[in-house]
């Protein structure tokens, strides 16, 4: 549904994104992640036909964003990061304007606007001026604006920024509900959100894509082993390490900084194999004090920190 190839954008001497390539399958919700200033908004602005790229191609729903821009625009709903709305208009009148501009036929317009307001739960403020609404409501009006024409592709730039936790949950549910019939690409830097909503992610840093794929695959790719954190008091660390290492399936054992007489270790085993039982029995049998036994969840967050921090420790890229 979205095909991006070698997309590059320069702002004068600054390169915002370089050789960005990814694709999104129909009905998928993809999270577009990256630290602030990584190039998320730039990519989304190009996809939404707001500005042309300096190089590379992008296709949305089979149409090129540059040469077939009108076809693309008919099929997308876009929500920019700043949620720009006409503050002097009333909610319903504004959505009617958007629907009409986006080519919703006159007969369906009323129904579509009502539907969008229902889905985004803004029907109760439909006669209020947008300028008088709270941030949460404005955000939802922005979202309603994106979905009012029932577009095939939704491009949402930070749709939950600045909302309170309950509103975030609501918007998240709403976006989840869009999956299947709509293809969604949403940018964010709130990682737990991504794991909850998206099926796969694209991670961008300093204008370059550093990782992409389904979340599970990515976690596996960057952390091929399962890890267990163990805290044992008593014997010499060397003996404990030795004993832990011989447990079947264990790949490596390393130290974590410990306290007096309490050793902390990270036991890595092949993925899918839970060694906690064996560790417990080993400690019981050796009469060691087992203080803690915890599986370290390797989540998207670790992957993100890994790829983004990994980039940062390297020398600065010459072009950016």
């Amino acid at each position: 549904m979205i095909e991006v190839q070698n997309l590059t954008k320069h702002y004068g001497p600054v390169t915002a994104i370089r050789d960005v390539s990814f694709s999104v399958a129909p009905g998928e919700i993809v999270g577009f992640l990256g630290p602030n200033g990584a190039g998320k908004s730039t990519t989304m602005r190009i996809l939404s036909c707001f500005m042309p790229a300096s190089g590379g191609t992008a296709k949305v729903a089979g149409f090129d964003v540059f040469s077939e821009s009108m076809e693309v625009r008919r099929r997308i709903g876009y929500l920019p990061e700043s949620v720009p709305l006409y503050t002097e208009l009333r909610v319903a009148a504004y959505l009617d304007f958007v629907a009409e501009t986006k080519g919703v036929p006159r007969g369906e317009r009323k129904k579509r606007v009502a539907e969008a307001m229902d889905r985004c739960r803004i029907a109760d403020v439909q006669n209020r001026l947008i300028g008088k609404l709270s941030k949460g409501y404005r955000q939802r009006v922005g979202l309603a604006q994106a979905i009012v024409s029932d577009p095939a592709v939704l491009i949402l730039d930070e749709p939950t920024i600045g909302l309170d936790p309950r509103q975030i949950t609501e918007i998240r549910e709403l976006i989840k509900g869009l999956a299947g019939e709509h293809t969604v690409i949403l940018s964010t830097h709130i990682l737990p959100e991504v794991s909850m909503v998206c099926s796969s992610v694209v991670i961008i840093n300093k204008g370059v894509i550093v990782a992409q794929g389904p979340i599970d695959t990515l976690v596996e790719q960057f952390f091929p082993t399962a890890r267990v954190e163990v805290e044992i008091a008593g014997p010499s660390p060397a003996a404990v390490r030795e004993a832990l290492r011989v447990i079947p399936g264990v790949v490596s054992v390393s130290d974590l900084p410990g306290f007096d007489g309490i050793g902390r270790y990270v036991v890595e085993s092949s993925r899918g194999r839970d060694v906690r039982g064996e560790v417990f029995r080993l400690a019981a049998q050796q009469r060691w004090d087992l203080r803690e036994l915890r599986r370290m969840g390797m989540t998207l967050e670790e992957v993100f920190l890994h790829v983004v921090a990994g980039e940062q420790s390297e020398p600065e890229a010459p072009t950016s």
Partner: protein, 254 residues
């Protein structure tokens, strides 16, 4: 071309904010004052001329409407930038342009819709001044021909003013800068005819021809000259074309 929805939106924005009301009220106040002073002056002069056996030859079209229309063009020079300044500058400042320019509407259609909205507001404002000829008509016989051409001239001149304003508004995200730029351009094209007096004859003709207000003279006399119509239409088209290019350039800059 999907001009209608954006046109409607612009009109709604003009009238939901106080802008349109204030501009119309101020314009009508100033225009009304000019009409009052010109008309009462004319009434006095015509009274004197009626008592003077040598007098006569006074006519209400030349005595009231021509000076009134030429005063209008000065007021409009000052007021029109205020009508057009927000068209693009405000969209850019608030960021709404990012949504507007990603809707399935060509840049040209957006431009035209905004131009037409400002023009409609202007036409409404000008139409309200039809009250003045109506008042004259109540007191004195009136030729409607020159009035008709006078108003056609005002509309044509207004279109160029608006096109210049739209162009200026597309250059910046600051409304005040937009208003000043369009004021500067309009003023330059207004006074350019003055320097014709000192220039050599060939250049003088060109300069005179470039003057925005000079072309309005003949309309008020009841003369509908093709060259003046063409001048205004061309001026409008060039300004709109420049505005379109400026929109496109802005897209590339991001």
């Amino acid at each position: 071309m999907k001009i209608w929805p954006i046109f409607k939106k612009e009109m709604r924005l003009y009238f939901t904010s106080p802008v349109a009301w204030v501009i119309m009220a101020v314009f009508l106040f100033i225009a009304g004052y000019f009409f009052y002073s010109i008309f009462s002056y004319y009434a006095r002069v015509s009274m004197q001329s009626a008592m003077n056996p040598m007098g006569g030859g006074l006519n209400v079209t030349d005595g009231v409407l021509r000076p009134l229309f030429s005063n209008f063009s000065v007021i409009l020079l000052l007021m029109m930038p205020l009508i057009t300044m927000r068209l693009f500058a405000e969209e850019r400042r608030s960021g709404t342009i990012e949504l507007l320019l990603t809707y399935p509407v060509r840049d040209g259609a957006v431009l035209l819709a905004k131009f037409l909205a400002a023009f409609a507001l202007y036409a409404l404002m000008i139409a309200l001044t039809l009250l003045y000829p109506a008042i004259i008509w109540y007191f004195a016989p009136l030729e409607w021909g020159p009035i008709l051409t006078g108003y056609a001239g005002l509309l044509l001149m207004g279109a160029t003013f608006i096109a210049v304003g739209v162009f200026a508004s597309s250059l910046t995200e600051n409304q005040i800068v937009a208003a000043l730029v369009s004021f500067l351009i309009l003023l330059m094209f207004w006074v350019v005819g003055w320097s014709a007096d000192f220039a050599d004859p060939a250049l003088a003709r060109v300069l005179q021809h470039l003057s925005l207000t000079e072309h309005n003279e003949s309309f008020a006399k009841g003369v509908f000259e093709t060259k003046d119509v063409i001048f205004y239409v061309n001026f409008t088209l060039v300004a709109l074309f420049l505005a379109l290019r400026s929109l496109e350039a802005r897209r590339w800059k991001g």
